[in-house]
């Protein structure tokens, strides 16, 4: 059987719900890849007060800030999208037009919260 294999990402148009979903997965993979660095950071921060401050101050450098914002986006998006699923499990919001609004809210929430954290911290 020959299946259609049109996988050009620039011509595929996902509905917003699809974007929220694939971003949920993508953010999950990002968090998986970040995990060892988080454990290392936590280990260092717990080692001594000097090391704690060193980790804290590293968030003020440019690469530190960039990593922080990306990690924050991955976590916030994954968190909000997961929360949306938990509501679906309780039969809340699983109908039109709520499932679409909540997807937009999840996408926007992830971006705004992570940018906000990047600016405030």
């Amino acid at each position: 059987m020959k299946r259609p294999t049109h996988l050009n990402l620039f011509t595929i148009h996902l509905p917003v719900v699809g974007w929220a979903s694939i971003a949920h997965r993508l953010a999950g993979v990002m968090l998986f890849l970040i995990t060892p660095f988080l454990i290392y950071g936590l280990e260092t921060a717990l080692y001594s007060p000097e090391n704690f401050l060193q980790i804290k101050n590293s968030f003020s450098t440019f690469p530190g800030r960039a990593i922080l914002i990306f990690t924050c986006w991955a976590f916030t998006h994954h968190f909000l999208a997961g929360l949306r699923h938990l509501f679906f499990d309780l039969d809340i919001g699983f109908s039109a037009p709520f499932y679409r609004w909540s997807a937009i809210l999840v996408l926007a929430g992830g971006v705004f919260i992570s940018l906000g954290v990047g600016i405030i911290l």
């Binding site: 997965r25 999950g28 998986f32 995990t35 804290k56 976590f75 997961g82």
Partner: protein, 108 residues
């Protein structure tokens, strides 16, 4: 279909661990934001704190297992590669678990 094969078990694990991670992350972020080094260290030096810290990381690793396993099952069709990746994932997560355990043991 068995309980395991239905995917209900993975579904439940994913949700229970998600709630544990959500609460644990808020506590850890609060510690980092407070900038209070001794509090965090004292928290996990107690048996209860250490148990909660272990529970948090256990939930993270279980959540990672279910999520990454699903991705491998979705995208990797070739059997040998699939099983090799699953085995590698399991070993990697066990290594991370051991690392967290060592951190805990050193702080106790």
């Amino acid at each position: 279909m068995s309980y395991q094969a239905s995917g209900l078990r993975a579904f439940l694990w994913q949700r229970i661990s998600a709630v544990v991670i959500a609460i644990g992350t808020l506590i850890i972020l609060g510690w980092l934001a407070s900038g209070n080094y001794p509090t965090g260290r004292e928290l996990i030096a107690q048996p209860l704190g250490a148990a909660l810290f272990g529970l948090f990381w256990g939930a993270v690793l279980a959540h990672s297992w279910v999520g990454m396993r699903d991705i491998i099952l979705d995208y990797v069709a070739r059997r040998g590669v699939r099983y090799a990746l699953l085995a590698g994932l399991a070993l990697w997560l066990l290594f991370l678990g051991l690392w967290v355990f060592i951190i805990l043991a050193r702080n106790l």
